[in-house]
Assembly symmetry: C2
Homo-oligomer: 300 residues x 2
């Protein structure tokens, strides 16, 4: 219980921190083209959970890195996430009208504006790291952060996972294929979030870097399993999007393939694995530990 | 006439060079997700004019930089250009069925794949610069190239220009507003193309850098005026897309606002201005000079 409260404080701090960075990085709503800039701000500055930025900050805390050093990386992963949600919601993609409890971007604005807003947010993600004026982050580190983000977001990362997911609709998927989709669609960007801290610290012990990456892999998959479970068990008002949407789209999910009980078990096993990989870290890694537990206990 | 032949040789060299870089940077068509990767290759490896990469190579030649130094930057601007064409052609945007004489990406594949292919190509553009293994380009230069590309492609560059263009459809535009659209929609990326060479050469004389940027500004606008003129005067078979499309969409263009004759004159004046800005350069800048003249003389 005390951990849950400490996580709430940590989450709030990270949310405030990344939202300040995002607010500064995004063009003003009054700056032309106004409609595009309003759509970008609408999609990014809504009440998101900010899981990915929080992972970047928690990773920084675990390795003793000042939070300033991951401000740009944290904002960048959130911008990539926000762009992907806009495009995923489009009629030609998942066709979702609701996102975070509000009309999705193409509903609040229009399809063309939503496409362009997503495009421009992706651009901004790379721009934020390249333009980061934080003196302690070397150019070499920034190039590596951009390379890692590009691998995570591109056709063999997040965008590729979304393509695999679309291809699979209506066809029979087994667990291996489903896991492959998740590893790419959501896992890659979650790994990249922790990488933003690891890469900002070029002198980090490689074993610690590997342990953090393994942690991120495990919680990334657990996060998606929990998302699938929330779609079955969650409340539309709480999760902020239509529950039961996966079943309506005849999508293969962990619960549909292995049952609700075993899906919960699989998520819990992954979290145990994630926590084990942090065994050599001191209390600086506690936020990472809290996040791991939160992922399987959250209700939205 | 001799210049035209020398330009043809230069263009062919640049095309071969950038197509080799692009072919290597793009995921193989057989690599999953196959449909996505096929769509990406389809959109990029069609017979484009490769104007932007050619400008990067011509800029490099003008300042005595080895072409290897701009391979990544040249590929990156072409990837941004290719992604923007895919998204511009979507039904929610310009709704074009034809591109470079072939079905546009969403016609050859499907809308969802086209959206994702555009997304992944944009990602790849930044990845190509970040992953560039060319030892002579410093990390600092690469960070600056990425920052310049992000400014040129984003909401206050190319994507913003497309938003302004869409907003303006059906409304009365004057020349100032039209020019503002062009400066962003096509001009920003053309300037960035020359910048790829300038930024790869951090010890360049600032006056030379400014002269090259002015050159790029002038030819960028001339390029768009010529595009407008080709839409009125060109042949669908030659330009590789439906001629008369602008008029059909009731779009304001240079010829529609100022007449065909004055539009030709405006383009020619800009080319004279562009050539004047190269006066302090030796024959290394000849390719830039040939390109300037080609822009107003091309028929596709």
């Amino acid at each position: 219980m005390q951990d849950a409260l400490r996580l709430q404080t940590f989450l709030k701090d990270c949310q405030a921190r990344v939202e300040q960075t995002l607010d500064r990085a995004l063009p003003a709503a009054e700056q032309p083209p106004k409609r595009l800039h309003q759509a970008m701000r609408y999609a990014v500055l809504s009440e998101g959970k900010r899981v990915r930025p929080t992972l970047a900050y928690a990773g920084a805390r675990a390795i003793g890195l000042a939070p300033e050093r991951v401000d740009a990386g944290a904002a960048a992963v959130e911008l990539i996430h926000a762009y992907s949600l806009i495009h995923d919601d489009l009629p030609a993609m998942d066709d979702d009208d609701l996102r975070r409890g509000r009309p999705s971007c193409h509903k609040a604005f229009d399809e063309a504006t939503a496409i362009l807003a997503g495009d421009a947010l992706q651009t901004l993600a790379f721009g934020v790291i390249a333009e980061d004026k934080h003196g302690d982050t070397s150019d070499g580190a920034r190039v590596q952060m951009i390379a890692a983000l590009a691998r995570a977001a591109g056709s063999i990362g997040m965008a590729g996972g979304q393509a695999l997911d679309l291809e699979s609709e209506g066809s029979e998927l087994d667990l291996v294929m489903l896991e492959n989709i998740h590893i790419h669609k959501t896992g890659a960007l979650i790994r990249a979030s922790v990488q933003m801290a690891v890469l900002a610290c070029p002198d980090l012990d490689p074993e610690q870097a590997n342990a953090l990456d393994h942690y991120a892999k495990c919680i990334g998959l657990a996060f998606q399993i929990q998302d699938d479970l929330l779609d079955v068990e969650g409340d539309t008002d709480v999760i902020g999007k239509q529950s039961g949407a996966d079943a309506a789209h005849e999508k293969a999910t962990y619960p549909s393939l292995m049952g609700i009980g075993p899906a919960h078990e699989a998520a819990n096993d992954l979290i145990t694995d994630a926590l084990d990989s942090l065994s050599s870290f001191d209390e600086g890694a506690d936020p990472l530990r809290w996040i791991a537990r939160y992922i399987v206990n959250r209700d939205r």
